[in-house]
Amino acid sequence: MTVALSLAASPRRRRLPAALPWLLIAPSVLLLLALILFPLVFALKNSFYFWNLQMSPVPMGYIGADNYRMAFSASFFLGALRTTVLMTLVGTAVEFLLGLGIALLLLRNLRGMRLTRVLLIMPTTIAPIVVGFLFRYMYDPNGGLIPWLLQSAGIPLPAAGLLGSSSTALWAVLFADVWQWTPFFAIVLYAALLAVPEDVLEAARLDGASAFKLLTHIKLPLIRKTALIVVMLRFMQLFNTFDLVVVLTKGGPGASTRTLGYSLYQAGLVDFNIGLASAMTWLIVIVVNAIIGLFVFFAFRDLD
C-alpha cells in the first residue's frame, strides 16, 4: 500500500536548501495575502471613518468607534448573530449526520448504488444563486411544488407560507442549504469510509462487534480528520450565508432570517454605508475567528 510507503519516508533526508520549501509555498501565500489582506485592511481602516456612498464618494472623516457602536444598535448585530449561530450549528450538524447516514448507505452493495452515488453529488455542483431561484420557485405558496406536496400529505402549513411565517422561514432557507450540501458531506464521508481497511473491520467483526460499535469505535475515529475538516469548511461557509437569503426572504418576515451575512449585504450593497459595513466585517471576522480558533484548538491538537 502506498500509504505505508509514504509514512515510512523520512523527509529529513533532504539535502536541499532549507529555504526551498518556503519558496515553493510563497507564491500561493503571497497571492492569497494580497487578495485577502487588501479587503481586510480596507475594511479595518474604513471601519473608523464615516463613509456613506449615498453622501459622498470618498470617506468623510474619522469617527472613532462610532461605526462599531452603530453596528450594535441600528444593525441588529446581536439578533443577527443569534440567528446565524443557530442556523450554522443546526445546518452543519444536520448536513453531517444526514451525510454520514447516506455515506453508509452508499457503501452497501446494491444494484444501482454506483449510479445513485454519481448522481447524488449534482446539487453541490449548482451555483448557490441558482439554488436560490430553484427553491423560490418550489416554495411559492401559490403553485409551488413543496407546499403542494406537504398539503397533499396532510401536513398543515402556516397560512403565510413556508417563507412567510416567522416560525418556518429560517428552516425553509436552511433546507435549501441542506439540500445543496448534504451530498457533499455524503461523498466526502463515503470516500473516507471507503479507505477504512477492510481487514480492520473484519477483525472487529470476528470479535463480535455490532454494526453500531463498528461505526462509533472504528470507522468514525479513522475518518475523524476528514470529518473535522469538512465540518469546519461548511461552518465557515454557512456562517457567511447571504445569497440564499437575498433571493428567498430578504431577511424577513420580521428579522427571522436576517443573518449576519445578509445584514452585511444590506449595509454594504443596499445602504452603501461602507464605514458601517466595514465595522460589521471585522466583527464577523473576529467572531468566526474565535469560533474556528476554539474548534482548531480542540479538534486539531493531534493533527500532524
Binding site: L110, M122, I129, L134, F135, N142, Y190, A192, T226, T281
Partner: protein, 277 residues
C-alpha cells in the same frame, strides 16, 4: 463487502436509494421542466406533467436575442483561466507541505482554509477598487485572479493528499540520477498525481464557474458570466421564470457533465488525506 443481507435489509436499502434520488435529483428535474414547459403550467397544481415541450425560453436566452450566449462563453473563459492559474500556485505549495516537516505546517494548512472565513460580501467593493487600480476592471483576468481566493486553498489540501501517496523513493532515484527539483516535480511527481490534478482542476472549475458575487462587480456587459446573467430576469416588475430556468439550466450543465464524466476521481479526491492521518 459481500455480506449476506436479509430481504428486508435489501428492501430498505432500495427504498432509501429511491428516496435519495427523489429528494436530491427531483428538484433539478423540476427546474429543467420549468425551462421547457408552457407558461400557464409554471405554477399549476396538481403538477402538469403532460405538456408539449417548448424551446422558446432557450431560444430567447441563447438564440434571439440570445443575451446569455456570450455569457456562456465568458463563464468558460473565466473558469478555464482559473483552472490554469490555480495549478502553478497550488501544486508547489502542496508539494512542499507534503514533503517537508516544516515548522508550523499544521498552522499553514489550516491558514489556507481559514482564509475562507471572511464574509465574501465584504470583499465586493474593495475588489472593485483593487481591480480598477490595477487597470483590470471588467477583464477576465480580474475574475480569474479573484477566483484564486476560492480555488487555491481547497486545491492545496486536495493536492497534498495526492502527493502524500507518491513514494519518496521514486524521487530519490531521480535525484541520484542528477535531476533537480524541477525535474522531480514535473517528471516524477506530476505524472503520478494526474488524478489529483484532474480532481483539483474540477473543483477549481466549478468554484469559479458558480461564483456570482465577484463577477457581479468585476465584470461588464462584455465579460459578464452566466450566473450573473440569470439575475437579469429577476426584475422588480416581474420574474420571467422560463428565462431564468433556461439560463440556469445551461449554467448547471457544464459542472454536472464534468462531475458525471470524471466521477471516479471525485471519490478518490475528496478524502482530505483521511485515514493516513
Amino acid at each position: 463487502m459481500a455480506r449476506s443481507e436479509t430481504f428486508s435489509g435489501r428492501a430498505f436499502g432500495y427504498l432509501a436509494m429511491l428516496a435519495l434520488l427523489v429528494v436530491f435529483i427531483g428538484p433539478i428535474v423540476w427546474f429543467v421542466l420549468l425551462a421547457i414547459r408552457p407558461a400557464d403550467t409554471f405554477f399549476a397544481m396538481p403538477p402538469v406533467l403532460r405538456f408539449q415541450p417548448s424551446w422558446e425560453s432557450f431560444r430567447y436566452t441563447f438564440v434571439e436575442p440570445g443575451n446569455n450566449l456570450p455569457q456562456l462563453r465568458n463563464s468558460l473563459i473565466v473558469a478555464a483561466g482559473a483552472v490554469l492559474l490555480n495549478l502553478p500556485f497550488s501544486f508547489p505549495a502542496a508539494y512542499a507541505l507534503s514533503r517537508y516537516r516544516l515548522r508550523g505546517r499544521k498552522h499553514i494548512m489550516l491558514w489556507y482554509l481559514g482564509l475562507l472565513m471572511a464574509p465574501p460580501v465584504a470583499f465586493l467593493i474593495p475588489y472593485s477598487i483593487l481591480a480598477s487600480a490595477a487597470g483590470l476592471k471588467g477583464t477576465y483576468l480580474s475574475m480569474i485572479l479573484i477566483a484564486q481566493t476560492l480555488t487555491v486553498p481547497f486545491s492545496v489540501w486536495l493536492m497534498r493528499s495526492f502527493i502524500d501517496e507518491v513514494p519518496v523513493e521514486l524521487e530519490e532515484a531521480a535525484r541520484i540520477d542528477g535531476g533537480g527539483l524541477w525535474t522531480i516535480l514535473t517528471k516524477v511527481v506530476l505524472p503520478l498525481v494526474t488524478p489529483g490534478l484532474i480532481v483539483t482542476s474540477m473543483f477549481a472549475f466549478v468554484f469559479s464557474w458558480n461564483n456570482a458575487a465577484f463577477p457581479l462587480v468585476l465584470a461588464n456587459r462584455a465579460t459578464a458570466t452566466l450566473p450573473v446573467g440569470t439575475l437579469q430576469y429577476f426584475g422588480t416588475a416581474g420574474v420571467t421564470w422560463g428565462f431564468i430556468a433556461a439560463a440556469a439550466v445551461a449554467a448547471m450543465i457544464p459542472p454536472m457533465l464534468i462531475f458525471l464524466v470524471l466521477d471516479r476521481y471525485v471519490v478518490r479526491g475528496l478524502t482530505f488525506g483521511s485515514v493516513k492521518g
